[in-house]
Every structure is written in structure tokens, then in C-alpha cells.
Symmetry: D2
Subunit: 134 residues, 4 copies
């Protein structure tokens, strides 16, 4: 899937509330998908850091893109579970979100997502399980 296909997927599939995060593709291939989460003051809670909810949404979205790329196109799927760890606070700057498929089973897909701050440090880590519907 090329950049245009990914942008079209994000526009078409995401809920409007998630689309407001303005995630854009940076690099997507069969192995992984990297999206950019552009910084915005709207994403910070009163403590001045980007809130966890934003990173969860970004991680889930990046994984949907990674699975779609691995499958050669978006197919209906549902998130079974997502586990996320917040390791470092992010005060500013764009965040890069890289999702990788760990195992593409017939029914279940396992994945891992890493979120890096503008200095390239790992700030957030997530693992995910999806069920493919048919």
C-alpha cells in the first residue's frame, strides 16, 4: 500500500474523533507501519504532557495500518486487546509511532507498537491482539 492508499484508509476507516489526531503515514511496508503524530496543545493534559489517551489511540491506529499493509489492503478486524506501558513523559514535539506485526495468524494477529519522542527515545510501548473478521 502506498502513501495515498494509507491516507485514504485513515480517512475512510477512522472515527472522526480519532481522525482529529491528524496521524499521517511516514513509512509503511509489509513489515511495519510508521505514522507521525503531529504535536498539538490539544493533546496535553493539565500537567503539560501529551496524555496517555492520545498514545493509546495512535498505537491502535498504527497497528490497523500495519495489519492492512501486511494483508495487502484493509480488511474488517477488531481489536481484542491492547496493553500499553508509558515509560517517559512527552512534553512537546511530534511523535513517531511504529507498529510491527509479530504474527499474522489465520484468525488472530499479534503486534507490537513503539512510540518515539522527537529525540528518538522510546516513550511508550504497546502490544496488541486483533481478530480478523470475515
Amino acid at each position: 500500500m502506498d502513501d495515498n492508499a494509507i491516507r485514504e484508509l485513515l480517512d475512510r476507516v477512522l472515527a472522526p474523533w480519532v481522525r482529529a489526531l491528524a496521524l499521517t503515514p511516514v513509512k509503511v511496508d509489509d513489515e511495519s507501519a510508521t505514522l507521525r503524530l503531529p504535536f498539538s496543545g490539544e493533546l496535553r493534559h493539565s500537567g503539560g504532557v501529551i496524555c496517555g489517551q492520545v498514545f493509546m489511540a495512535a498505537a491502535d491506529t498504527a497497528m490497523i495500518v500495519a495489519i492492512s499493509a501486511a494483508l495487502g489492503g484493509f480488511k474488517p478486524m477488531t481489536t481484542v486487546s491492547l496493553n500499553i506501558s508509558f515509560m517517559k513523559a512527552v512534553r512537546k514535539g511530534d511523535v513517531l509511532v511504529t507498529a510491527r506485526v509479530l504474527r499474522l495468524g489465520r484468525n488472530l494477529v499479534f503486534g507490537e507498537v513503539e512510540l518515539f519522542d522527537e529525540d528518538g527515545r522510546l516513550a511508550v510501548h504497546a502490544t496488541t491482539t486483533y481478530a480478523l473478521l470475515d
Copy 2:
């Protein structure tokens, strides 16, 4: 904390992007916090169901309220991890989000969140760990 205190907390603490979910307190005491997530088409992805990202954000927010209530007021804290399982799709209707503190330690707080659809069925389940800052 009474309803007004909770509303004030939600207004003051949440990132604007999360505030857009319009979560409102239903019942909050020392043991648990229940918030209402009002239905909106903005929350549904292309499959016509409320997207997982919304439930993650609602779960995290409800737990912050529950911990604040258990502590007698909001204190700076950070989400260490959140694990969420999506058990049943929700197509429509308000969702009730109930967060309970399982253990309030000196540094770490463990909690559990249940999300119920409009028919009272458990649709989503989450567990959380927070670190209290000081």
C-alpha cells in the same frame, strides 16, 4: 468529591481532545467512579461501532476520577500501564464506565474498569496501574 468537584476536575485536568468525549459523572464515591460516555456518531469507525480508542480514553479517564475520589482530591499521577480487552461491539447508546481502585499503595495504584452498553452488558474490561507523583 461531589458532582461539581468531579466536573471541575474533568474540565481542568483533561486534554481538550479527551474533553471532547463529554464524559460526565454518574456516581462517584471512595470505592468507585462511574462516568457516562454519551453516544455520538463521531465515535464510530467505518464498521459502525464505537472504536476502541474511545473506550481506552474513557477507561483511563474514569480511573483518574476514581483515584482522585479515593485520595479526597486530584493529585498528580501518571498512567504506568493500561490493559484493555474488547469483548463485545457497541453500535449505539450511552456507555457507563465504572472504575474501581483495587489497591491504593503508597506509590502505585492498581485499578479495574468495566464498560457497560445501554443494555447493561459488559462490553469492555480494563486494568490499570498508576504511579502517584509528589
Copy 3:
């Protein structure tokens, strides 16, 4: 399933290494399964507390019993994921392990496990996802 059926299941299904934990049924019905983990010095690490590995194994085992009871008998299944939080150290005494099925789907089963120390305090909490094979 009655106590004898549960004991027979534990004897037949468990790996010998897990059987060494000597888990025994306390109360099992369609809703939940409670097993007793008898205390033994073999279970404590050098810090003098029961090690986390024991609780993970006990939680997984109790959930297999709970699902079997809900299904009316053991059926082949595989653990998809298990998330466990250690909230309180346990130095001594038997531990009660209660597993509940949260949702019994056609393919996936979601569950929750609570482990209580001899004073009845919640020490460990786990959530699980299993896939039913056929």
C-alpha cells in the same frame, strides 16, 4: 462438574511441573472456579515471598477450570494472553484463586482471576483471553 471431575481434569490435563503446585478445587460452578494453592516453602524465592511465577501458573490453571465448568467439561483451548498484576506480597498461608468467565464467545473466552491471601486480601489480579480449538 463436581469436585471429582475437577480433580480428574487437573490430574489429566496439567503438565507434571504445574501439577506439583497441588492445586485443589474449593468451589466450582458455571460462574466461577475457586482453587486452593497450598502453601509450601518450595514456592518462595530468596526474598521470602511466594514468587510471581507461582501465581501466574495458578491463575492460568484456575481459568482453565472455570472455562471447562462453563462449557460443561474440558475442551481443547489455548491461552492467547494473560495479564497479571502483583499488588501485595504473600509470605505465608494458602492462597485462594478465583477465576470468573467474563465473556464466553464462540471462539474467544475472556476471564478475570483474583488471588487472595489467608487474610482474604486481594494480592494478585489477572485477566486472560483463551481461544477455543475445535
Copy 4:
């Protein structure tokens, strides 16, 4: 820490029940720890595959070694949480367990563990959080 120090750590720290797994160091440095889990029929459940409980125990143990190596020696710590996904069944052969520290904070340590079957395929993935005690 050299091989002898790791073997001594495993002998001294682990509960006897976990020591029975006979985990041995393969390669340990500041970045990661790889242990070998030798195959044994004692580890298989009635379905003929190594049971999940074994992999959980191995993952937790490998991470304790990795953190100790990163700290330059074992220090008292407690597992806060462990999330594990079982992606592929393992019927036979030794399993290599590689634990990496993702972030070594002042109080909390985040890590990731991968378990590979004898053909080098990723079979199990875990993430962990530990609290350093002092």
C-alpha cells in the same frame, strides 16, 4: 555479570519450584539476557505442547536476570505486572528466552521478553514492569 555470577544468582534467588525448570544462561550483557529453557516432558500438558505456565515463569526469570545485569548485580525487586501473548505452540525442543530492558527508571523498570522455538521462530512475547525496592 559473567556466566558463573548468573548461575549463582539463579541458584540463590529462585524458588525451588522455578529452579526445577533448569534455566541456564546463554548470553547476558548490559542490554539483554538470553536463557535456555531445556526441553522436558514434564513441561507439556495433555495436548502435547509446552504449557503457558512454563513460558510465563521463564519470561519472568529472564527479565530478573536482565535487570540484574543492567544494574551490575541483583538488587531486591518485585514484579509489578507481566503481560504475555502466546503466538505459536511449541511441541518440542529447547526454547531461547531473551529479555531486554526497555527503560531503567529510578523506581520502575520496563522490559520485553521474546521466546523462540528451536527453529528460531518467535513463539511467545511478554512485557513486564518491575519496581526496584530499597
